[in-house]
Assembly symmetry: C2
Homo-oligomer: 349 residues x 2
């Protein structure tokens, strides 16, 4: 079968690899019908250590169950399923608290942590299939597939940011980052009732989509100028909630600059730094809360799916390009160079 | 009048200073009947820059209103009052949200930020008296004074830690620090229903008081050994809530080490550091929330006072020494060298 491997910074290849097969009774084998490239895939694309490659790539996919281990009870051959980016048993104490990204099962992991499997491939072995996979009530060729695919990561991640940030109808919200997660954080903030949603981003085609998703204001400036503009838009004191969907230090500093005293900075951009300011002048003095983390998207699928099925929302609009396996490496380049917002992969193309 | 000044590290002096007088119509002049030394006063006592001295000290006091400016409407001569450590108008948008430490009035400040006034003195000019001061329904010589004095800072601060941490009957709680704030964080966690309250501290007389206030376990070990002991006490996964009442980097690192995935680290020890780990391996990966800050104790006085007046709780037990003005410098030494937990100052002695 064909799969995507990253050998090092800027070096993505689609190669023939041994077919994925069921190894444990709780596994399912899924033939991938739709996958995609994530903004977080660009982090190793920039800075992967040579010793860490080649790595199998892809943590978002929809596919058809081809086979299921003897212990799998909820899935059968032919089911169309979506996989969260985190594998979980969905029964441990953390899963029961809707923190599936901290599942305590010994097979629990993020897809990016599993050496020989990945979603940007023709097939995947899915551990803990009953806990991890969610059945989709549509056909594999449904027009809703792009939107349903966002449930694997980016929509659930944007929603997690907004939930952890405590967004409601009384909070002003600023979203930092106009990637897919940032744009879906806008959609999520709107969903939770926020009346002012400021989107900080510099790419007009993306911020235009943000406006369509519910942003009320766009601030293209960054750094001190961007901070000043957000403060002006929020009556001088800053934003009640900041959703940080980038993961780099300047975005963190920007969040600290625009947060209102008593406010919440909710991070879902995977931090590419270890230390950051948390002292009196950054977080402490103003009673700022810093929260967020990898989104337990498994917890949000049941809640978010109905509005996709009904057509009320269309998060799949974040996909602006589609490719087969042959175009995956180009897809990485296009996303890295901002020619594509998010690239959908159809292995059958 | 006599007042306490800090000239530099280890150099505290009680000197004659110009009498405090009313300067603005919203001021009150308060004759101090009870004040105290705070654990946070020890931070400048260790590391004050020479150029910053001499500084007037003291941000917790009870006293009698001697005079009130023409615009003061709720207080009159003879009223006994307690002052929070933060001056606030109690009417701005932040005060109305119970975040009086971020009051937007131009005269709002912490006592420690006002050059020519301080609570460790015979008298104080109190700006924004209507907003700042709270009347006490007892006499100045009441036996309840020590407990009521904790409403100025340490009890409200411990309570703030517990509230921001989201303590309830389902959370395990670990308190780092056996100073007055840590011990009253224990009392506050108990008040909010926590059934497991682990106190990390090394001074037996203090941790014994912690046990009396509601701690269920004491861990004297620090660093990796302390972390391991708390993890064992919490079923291996760590504590739902950590109340950090120290402010130094090792306490932060200890908090990160013992927090459970999805948990909340609530800081009220004034951070003596600017940067700290917040990346994937510290906070982000486990969806840890970092919160806390200077406590808006003004918001909690009405709630906490009745149980002091009824005798149901006795937070004033944190005071283990009393002195007149002559003994203030010795009081700093005694607290610094851990001979005293918290020193009460009676200027009339």
């Amino acid at each position: 079968m064909r799969a995507t491997l990253m050998y090092g910074p800027g070096d993505v290849r689609v190669e023939n690899v041994p077919d994925s097969v069921i190894k444990h009774p709780t596994d399912a084998l899924v033939r991938v019908t739709a996958s995609c490239i994530c903004g977080s895939d660009l982090h190793p694309y920039h800075s992967m250590s040579a010793g860490n490659g080649p790595a199998r790539m892809g943590h978002e996919f929809i596919g058809v169950v081809e086979d299921a281990g003897s212990a799998v009870t909820t899935l059968k051959k032919g089911d169309l399923v979506v996989s969260p980016f985190a594998i979980s048993d969905n029964t441990c104490e953390f899963c029961r608290e809707n923190l599936q990204t901290s599942c305590s099962h010994h097979e629990a992991n993020f897809w990016d942590g599993i050496p020989d499997e990945g979603g940007q491939a023709e097939a995947v072995r899915v551990p803990l299939a009953d806990g991890t996979l969610v059945k989709l009530p549509v056909a594999a060729d449904s027009e809703l597939i792009p939107s349903l695919l966002t449930l694997a990561d980016v929509f659930g991640t944007g929603y997690h940011a907004a939930l952890k940030g405590g967004v409601n109808e009384r909070t002003s919200v600023t979203v930092i980052g106009d990637g897919a997660v940032g744009l879906l954080a806008v959609m999520s903030a709107k969903r939770l009732g926020a009346e002012q949603i400021i989107l900080m981003g510099r790419h007009k085609s993306r911020t235009d989509l943000g406006l369509e998703f519910g942003a009320t204001d766009v601030v293209a400036a960054r750094g001190e100028e961007g901070i000043a503009q957000v403060r002006e838009l929020t009556g001088g004191h800053g934003s009640h909630v900041v959703l940080e969907a980038v993961g780099h230090t300047p975005a963190y500093d920007q969040a600290v600059g625009i947060i209102r005293p008593g406010g919440v900075i909710s991070r879902v951009g995977v931090p590419q730094y270890n230390e950051a300011p948390v002292g009196f002048d950054s977080l402490f003095g103003g009673n700022i809360t810093l929260t967020g983390g990898p989104a337990p998207v498994r917890a949000y699928i049941d809640e978010l799916m109905p509005d996709i099925l009904s057509g009320a929302i269309e998060p799949g609009k974040v996909f602006d390009a589609t490719t087969g396996m042959d175009g995956v490496a180009q897809g990485y380049r296009d996303m890295d160079e901002r020619r594509s917002l998010k690239v959908l992969i159809r292995p059958s193309l």
